[in-house]
Amino acid sequence: MKCHEVENELIAYLDRRANSADRKQLEEHLATCSACRLRAEGFRKVWNVLDEVPSIEPSLGFDARLRQRVAAEPRARWTGWFVPQPRLALSMALLIALSAWMGNMPPTTSPDNEMGTKQQFEMIKDLPVLENYDELSKFDALSELGPAPVAVPEQDHSANPNGGGS
């Protein structure tokens, strides 16, 4: 080990936290290098001197003052539910946008549906006939009279519109 390499290991060595290999190398170096040995000794003495500095005590009102400040901190309340939560807001916005998009989509059309629509249209067109179906069905007997006259002359106003006479 060289002197400049001592820099990284000396503190750990004096702390007794160096591993055995590093410790052995360092001890070998210290045995041969008086400058590093002096430095190591100096470090030990500095540590002892640092112990001479007395501690201070917190003032008597320290705890009370801190508790007062802690008590003044805002508490979590039920209104905390209304605190903006970005993730929740984003999810809700996406859900609403998806719903709106799906609501505006044109209805799907298939050939079956198209046929059904045509039938419905025909039924609606014949609706008056269907509504009076019972009455109209009573006129079946008229079919025996044969086809109705094609044209009625102007002067035959007196003629019976139903074929006359019967």
Partner: protein, 194 residues
């Protein structure tokens, strides 16, 4: 801390009682003013309380605590330095202005020893260290943290931390050489130093 997170107020009191003394002393040694140290310690505990819901036990609680404390102390020291720089335009540097005043050589240390006790000189020597070295020494020497913890507090690698510590102790070794050579005589009625 997990109990505090769960809303147990009594556990916060326990945390306070357990950590306030080392925390106040760490901050005092960082900023060298008892009132400022107390204010900062209060702020550290308040921040812990405010952040209790976000606490995750991925790191040791003390690491988290001292990380907050170190950041606050460093900010305070820097702010204070700027304030002092503003004041010094009109006023001569006060005797209490630590770092550059620290007796750099034996002769000046001897002069100061007449006026000041050893503790004050040691405090000044520590205060004269660059901020990060100072924090490293305090966490290493007084809080007895391991290298991994200190490195996390100071947000550096363990290798960088060892280098920081080496340079800091080397500076202290030179600055405090006269004190080291003249061990403190025990005084009557004085308890064992902490």
């Amino acid at each position: 801390m997990l109990d505090v997170k769960a809303g147990d107020e009594a556990s916060f009191d326990l945390l306070l009682r357990k950590h306030r003394l080392p925390l106040v002393n760490f901050l005092f040694r960082m900023v060298r003013d008892a009132a400022t140290a107390e204010d900062l310690a209060q702020e550290v505990f308040l921040r812990v309380y405010r952040a209790r819901k976000q606490y995750s036990p991925s790191a040791k609680f003390t690491t988290w605590l001292f990380r907050i404390a170190t950041n606050l102390a460093l900010n305070s020291v820097r702010d204070n330095r700027h304030r002092r720089a503003d004041v010094s335009i009109d006023v001569k540097a006060e005797e209490d202005e630590a770092p550059r005043e620290l007796p750099a050589r034996e002769m000046r240390i001897d002069e100061h020893m007449i006026e000041r006790d050893r503790s004050e000189l040691i405090r000044r020597a520590v205060a004269a260290l660059p901020e990060k070295q100072r924090a490293a020494v305090l966490l290493h020497k007084y809080e007895e943290m391991d290298y991994g913890e200190i490195a996390k507090v100071l947000e550096c690698s363990e290798s960088a931390l060892k280098s920081l510590l080496f340079r800091a102790y080397e500076t202290l070794r030179v600055q405090l050489a006269p004190l080291v050579a003249q061990p403190m005589a025990p005084r009557a009625g004085e308890g064992r130093p902490v």
